[in-house]
């Protein structure tokens, strides 16, 4: 029975693909500013929920893909995801049992760190990005986190065991 409960790789793959797509979908400018950081959200979710299946290596590889998709410096997203992912993985054991809104609050500094890292890399490599574009998603990501959690628990319901 326990074997059935183990999440397979499929939901992870699908959700990651969806996150990539959602992060690429064209939005009108004002909405694009508020677009939650989809890929980090899904990465952190899996880091929290199944750390043995989805580790930092996956996070870094996914970061590389994002780098290519968004045309940023190869390794920028990978670096930011690795650093912030490490923090998430460290607090996973505690945070994963909290209610979603509390998780959202706990993760807020990490979103901030993630945004700052991206902003910092932009600065170091003299690619002047709009600071607002980097930091505005922090809040919307925090708001979107409980939504993501409920969507994921609906799409991946706990098996019925009594």
């Amino acid at each position: 029975m326990n074997e059935d409960r183990r999440p397979s790789a499929l939901p992870i793959l699908i959700s990651v693909l969806l996150a990539l797509v959602l992060s690429k979908v064209m939005l009108p400018d004002p909405l694009a500013l508020l677009r939650p950081a989809m890929v980090p959200m899904i990465v952190f979710y899996w880091l929290l929920m199944v750390p043995d299946k989805f580790g930092l290596t996956m996070a870094a590889l996914l970061g590389l893909v994002v780098d290519v998709l968004t045309g940023t410096l190869l390794g920028a997203h990978a670096f930011a995801l690795t650093v912030s992912g490490y923090l998430v993985a460290r607090m996973a054991l505690i945070v994963r049992f909290w209610p979603a809104w509390q998780q959202s609050l706990a993760l807020l500094p990490i979103w901030g760190l993630y945004a700052f890292l991206m902003f910092w890399i932009d600065g170091v490599t003299h690619r002047n990005a709009d600071a607002l574009l980097r930091f505005a998603p922090v809040l919307t990501t925090a708001v979107a986190w409980p939504v993501l959690c409920s969507v994921m628990s609906w799409a991946r319901p706990p098996a019925e065991d009594t």
Binding site: L17, K24, G75, Y86
Partner: protein
């Protein structure tokens, strides 16, 4: 996120990191971070990572494609939206087209009038005489009294006995002048006669009006006179009233009654007496009309339309 699920997960997944087989979490993070930094450095300073980048890009093509789907969907939506607006635009244009069609019909009338006036002007050019365009304001309805009233009178220099022509031939002459208007008798009035010659032979005679039904009659031609159907009659100018050489009519009937001295010859007037409203008042020797619109228009159309030809008269 219920507790039971969490506890189960704890048994399966979360205990493992406590006894990791691979490198610890911190070490892994440091290694990956360093690797990322190295990648960034390499990508920033050199081109060596371009193959890696393009490899990942190729692998990520499906993602790119899927993310463009909503865009395409919205394009389809806008396709339907624009169909609505196209329909509205279509009905608008249809309405507009109706309006314009109506105006175009008016324009057709104007163009026809313009052509008639230009033809008049061309005939005046041929005459080398001073002319003034007049307009018929009324005409008598009596079939045997062919009088018309013109909108030009003594103030414009119209005088009694002044010839009238149109684009195709002689129309008649002025018989009465008031300051603002004048009355003219047409060549088909039974009381009117005009000296003519048969264009083909030079035979001189007089054409009398014969009313609506016959047009013109040539009453005094001897029975052996050379007149045929289709002969063109032109004004001879012998009476001193009409300019010479101007079409008056075309013979359409020649009959000889046995025992009579004269032929019974009928001619159709060359001028289109009952068509159109414009005509020309002709001054023979330079008594100038007040307004000389004719000349100005004439100059503009110097190289112009063919002048009225005899073919018009058939």
């Amino acid at each position: 996120m219920d507790g039971r699920f969490g506890v189960d997960d704890l048994h399966q997944d979360s205990i493992r990191p406590l006894f990791p087989r691979g490198p610890s979490l911190g070490l892994k993070a440091v290694l990956l971070a360093l690797l990322s930094v190295g990648l960034m450095f390499a990508d920033d300073r050199t081109d060596t990572l371009n193959p890696v980048r393009s490899f990942i890009a190729v692998a990520a093509v499906p993602v790119q494609w899927m993310s463009s789907l909503p865009n395409q969907a919205s394009e389809v939506a806008s396709h339907f939206a624009s169909r609505e607006s196209l329909l509205a635009q279509n009905s608008d244009l249809r309405e507009q087209q109706l309006h314009l069609q109506a105006r175009l019909q008016k324009l057709d009338g104007l163009a026809a009038e313009n052509a008639r006036i230009r033809a008049l002007l061309l005939s005046s050019k041929r005459l080398h005489e001073q002319v003034l365009i007049g307009e018929i304001v009324s005409s008598s309805m009596d079939p045997y009294r062919h009088y018309v009233t013109l909108n030009k009178g003594g103030m414009e220099g119209v005088y009694k006995g002044q010839p009238l022509i149109d684009a195709h031939g002689v129309m008649g002459q002025v018989v009465e002048v008031t300051p603002m208007n004048s009355t003219a008798i047409l060549v088909t009035d039974p009381n009117h006669g005009i000296p003519v010659e048969v264009n083909r032979t030079g035979l001189q005679t007089v054409a009398h009006g014969a009313g609506d039904s016959r047009g013109l009659a040539l009453p005094f031609l001897p029975s052996n006179a050379d007149v045929q159907v289709g002969d063109l009659l032109v004004s001879s100018g012998l009476g001193g009233r009409y300019p010479a050489g101007y079409p008056v009519g075309v013979v359409y009937d020649v009959q000889h009654q046995p025992g009579e001295h004269f032929l019974d010859v009928s001619a159709r007037p060359a001028a289109r007496l009952n068509q159109g409203r414009e005509l020309l008042l002709v001054w023979k020797d330079g008594a100038p009309p007040v307004t000389n619109v004719a000349e100005q228009l004439d100059q503009r159309r110097e190289a112009g339309l063919p002048s009225f030809a005899t073919s018009d008269l058939q």
